[in-house]
Amino acid sequence: MIEDQLTDGLAGASADVDAGAALMLRFQQGEEACFDALVLRYQRPLTGYMLRLVRHPGVSEELVQDVFLRVYRSRERYRPQARFTTWLYRIATHLALNYLRDHRAEAHQASLDEPETEGGHPPDAADGRPGIETRLMRREWRRRVQQAIASLPERQRAAVILHKYQEMEYREIAQALQLSVSATKSLLFRAYEVLRGQLEQLEAMPG
């Protein structure tokens, strides 16, 4: 609701206005509510990014919190030179890569599979629920996709997630990873080549 009210104020701006940057600038000028609006707006995509990158729900939650704390603390220094999301994901990537570097030895076995909301039901064609066999096959399928992404080096993994799931452009990914655009392209190319080879044997998603 706050976000709606705040973004309503941007209605008169140009169509390609960066809503995040506008909110950040207003926050910079002292509108504290704009910070809450930024949190509400970017919490979900940021959590998804962290979750894919670090593969641990608790850790990703803490990292997201850290990202927003950094946003708050650096409000004075913020300059809208790039898209707000580029700046935001740069902070997030920096924190996540630091975390992964520091905890490289620890193998998180946390499962990112869907919760067992469907669990406990016998196969029932009448209610359209997939049978237990299909659910198990889907789980295994997801595990293999997850493993393939997890097997990538950290920077490649971050690049793929930013490109594939956050739908960022090369230039933005390059800024987030602090690389040149050409280096980012070749990083992504290598990552996709590895993934292509790893997922080659994977059949289509069951069900």
Binding site: V39, L69, V160, R196
Partner: protein, 168 residues
Amino acid sequence: MNCRQVRQSWMDAAPPVAAVRHLESCARCRAAWEQHTHMQSALDAWQPETRLPPDLTLRLRRQLALEAKPRRSVGSRIRGWFESWDGVPHPGRLRLAAASGTLLAAICLGILAWPHTAAVAPAPAPARGVVRDLQALNHDRGMLTNFPLLSTSAGNTAGAASSTTYAN
């Protein structure tokens, strides 16, 4: 376009026409394209469920409030303590004296309340005690000599010594 350029162009949202034409003539890239689309659909289907903490904004605010609380140094705490006397309606010197007096009283109380170690009284010199005991014993024996019936058994052995003592 060579094979690498063609495969790189697949990462773009809209690959160029030349890349599409390349597939018609290159069997290896066609096979790779099949694998690429398969990989893309596999990646598309991987959507981990993101559980958002409902109280993130609240937690952030709490954390920021903690950070905003200024940490006072020892010096500023002492200054603050003296400043707390400002409300007392007395001249400055009296206030300072009162503050110093309180401090002194606190120090005295601290000293008094400090657990004392019990003073150890010097033990009596054992030699002197032994002498006193022997003198008492000799006195008793001297008394016994006045009662011959009682001192018959002990008189012959110790009597001489005791009489010697008394003689002294």
